[in-house]
Symmetry: C2
Amino acid sequence: MRVAIVGGTGDEGFGLAVRLAAEGVPVTIGSRARDRAEDAATRARERAGADAPVEGRENAEAIGDADLVFVTVPYAGQADTYRSLKDHWPDGVIVCDTTTPLASAVGGRATQVLRPWHGSAAEQARALLPKGVRLVSGFHSVGAEPLTDHPHPVDADALLCGDDAEAKVAVGELVERIPGMRWVDCGPLEMARILEPLTAALIRVNKRYGVKGAGLRFSGREGWGAT
Amino acid sequence: MRVAIVGGTGDEGFGLAVRLAAEGVPVTIGSRARDRAEDAATRARERAGADAPVEGRENAEAIGDADLVFVTVPYAGQADTYRSLKDHWPDGVIVCDTTTPLASAVGGRATQVLRPWHGSAAEQARALLPKGVRLVSGFHSVGAEPLTDHPHPVDADALLCGDDAEAKVAVGELVERIPGMRWVDCGPLEMARILEPLTAALIRVNKRYGVKGAGLRFSGREGWGAT
């Protein structure tokens, strides 16, 4: 399983790169600029271990041989990112989009959200992706700070949604490699309309309590994951 | 502290009545029909204990001498409920609205939500309440099933939002009397736009996993509650 992270120089993508590489998953950090991607890969190895299998490339090159791609870009750049990559997706690749339509994309507050025309940022991604790409949305209730804080276990669940059950399981299996994390199947892709805004709520709670690592856990069942 | 529960014959309100009465908090279950309210009070005593201080009255009478009122009605009846009670609120009373604008209000699915004109059901409540009433919104991520399952501890946090800090603390202090529960201050009332839809996500997760008690916990800090 080769993983690429488009926008892997940003906080959330960088945290994912650190965690997955630390568990031995080959990760390619993608960025618009190759030197920034390589720099992020160097920093990721400093956190995940000198032998951690992480490298940096331009986005299009990063996704070219990937089995699973996280897209972790700010909402303001999400549509352009998908448009610029439309000819580069391997057929059948799984994409996990973590975008949250924070109002900061248009100069508003990160504690407020926009309502995308398609319903959610994930559904906008669906509209911009080729049919053969298998889309999952998730990670909106997992902060970048706890992700980056390797080797401290991550005290949060990844809430995933999508219309392709196998693709959700594939992302979920990566989640389960990260110490402390579980994943919860929250239903079809349209549930991203409810899950994406949780990022704004977490930012609000972080500010209110003066912390950086607020996250969410599901309760009411011993285990979650695949049904 | 006298508590009234408008819509206390419904699942969520009934669960709150059971839990609070079981902890010795005097509770009046309100309903449009007095006999249904009294019947619910009898059933609540069967669960909470024969001495549990819970009684039933018509809604307007129930709120007349209350310090804190939970409004736990379906979204389809929310506006009419507030309109019908507008002359009955004690000045300075605290109201905790738990309404979720589920699409089932208009014949749609309980796994989908409507977008209220005011932004959220809570903000609609604000528009219909007299100025002197202190409004809090919350409990959208706490299922009726775990609430009703006294004396088993409730494995979920109450996510509260509102513009009156003291009112949030007052609701939070009631939350803390329920075994297992904590509360999290999620910011101003407008955050209800993000919190209310969580009910639909919980319903979805309950269906997906064949459970009834899915709930949410905040992680990333030892304790939550008052800041």
